[in-house]
């Protein structure tokens, strides 16, 4: 079953257009959502949440239209933005009181357990917390009503590696249930390399690819050499190219390259960079 189905969704802004965006996130998977700043990642997430009103297309959450079943959908979605949108003058304990009234599935014991586990103070006001603490609190709030789907919009940006690791660990625990799914938008591609099952790449409001991470990393290769040596690479195999003082670097499709030619496994960063900047 698909947790999210985005079909041909479009949205026009003054100077930006999200154009015919389509992708799916299956249950039991973590979908990495990558792209440059302003490529349309946050816009897509906001469209899924109906914070932005779509102009065309269809969005299904667990097979149901996200507008006609908006309330039921929201109860199943945990959301973490890059900032924590809760009143700054409240403590974690007070937030527990509010959220327990709002969500019928709210689990106070689990909330306090997660606070202890991630060392988030119960009695400190949100405004006195560090960015890392706020992000951990945001994730705890999103997890404590047992959602089936997590939408994370750059949750690890600006966090130190230790906090990032704790967050990723929590997400991996969440994924132990096969009915759960995560859409994880991030600039930090190393995080996605660690935990994502699929990668969806958006560029200038259009989806360039949405594929299984392993297929992507093993389906493509990086070839490095001098321009003279490059004749061994068939032109139709080259996806992206980068020139440097030491030679050239090609992003190539492995299936079109002679297997005896040695290719390096690309990182998601390289895929992004060569797809966008070095497009042939």
């Amino acid at each position: 079953m698909n947790a999210i189905e985005v079909k041909h969704v479009s949205k026009q802004f003054k100077s930006f257009r999200l154009n015919d965006v389509s992708f799916t996130v299956e249950c039991g998977t973590i979908a990495g959502f990558i792209g440059q700043n302003g490529a349309g990642k946050s816009t897509t997430i906001k469209l899924i949440l109906n914070l932005f009103k779509k102009q065309a297309g269809e969005i299904l959450i667990f097979g149901k239209d996200h507008l006609t079943h908006e309330i039921a959908s929201k109860a199943q979605i945990g959301v973490v933005f890059d900032e924590l949108h809760v009143p700054n003058n409240l403590t974690a304990k007070e937030l527990n009181n509010i959220y327990s009234k709002v969500y019928s599935t709210w689990d106070s014991d689990y909330f306090y357990r997660l606070l202890d586990q991630l060392d988030v103070p119960k009695f400190d006001k949100v405004k006195s917390m560090s960015r890392g603490m706020k992000m951990k609190l945001g994730l705890i709030l999103a997890l404590s009503y047992h959602p089936k789907l997590l939408l994370l919009d750059e949750p690890t940006s600006g966090l130190d590696p230790i906090v990032r690791d704790e967050v990723l660990e929590l997400l991996q625990k969440f994924m132990k249930n096969d009915e759960h799914a995560i859409l994880f938008s991030s600039h930090i591609t190393s995080d996605l390399e660690k935990i994502a099952d699929t990668i969806t790449f958006i560029h200038k409001g259009e989806i360039l690819f949405s594929e299984n991470k392993d297929d992507l990393l093993y389906g493509y290769g990086i070839w490095k050499g001098t321009p003279e040596q490059a004749i061994v690479i068939p032109k139709h195999a080259i996806i992206g190219k980068q020139d440097s003082a030491f030679g050239v670097k090609y992003l190539v499709k492995r299936e079109f390259v002679n297997p005896v030619i040695e290719l390096e496994k690309p990182t998601i960063d390289e895929l992004m960079l060569l797809y966008v900047k070095g497009r042939v």
Partner: protein, 198 residues
Amino acid sequence: MISFLIRYYFDELSTWVVLTPLFFSFLMFFIFLEMDLLQTHLLFTLTSFSIVCTAFFDFQKRYKKMFVLFPMPFNTFLTANSLFLSGIILSYCSYSVFCSAVLRSLIEKQLVFPSLTNWLILLCVNFIFLALCMVLYLTKFQFIMGLLPFLILLSISSSTPYLRQFVDSIPLLFCVAVLSFVLSILITNYFSTRRDIV
């Protein structure tokens, strides 16, 4: 859920809700004897309410994302917001009329009952004002809300004769108040459910 939201709004804004009328009561005390009674009532209720209203809409704006993500229909929020603000109007108008009756009783050394007519006029004018604020909040001119207390002070102190004419017919005033309040709720509902939340 509606009662929870109203309680929560009150918890968050209790300082504004309680201290604003107290502050204005103190100010009004000095002009109570100089000005027309209805004028004083209007000045007190409208300035106090405009300040609380601005604080409320500012609070709503700051935490819009949190509220929008809650699994609740928009109508629940609209009802809670309207009830919360209506409750404030009701209490401020009652407080104003009651306090002036007490003060007059003390000054005239005989029992003066609170004026029901004044209370009704105040309610109607405040509801018209609330309708205006709700529509204003949807526009690009939200910043005017911060200036409203000063505008109210200026306009009321310079327009007493016209004000008298306007509030003379209570049934008409009542109809205008109900109509404008209902219209503002319909407009808010229409635009809020169709707009992007940035």
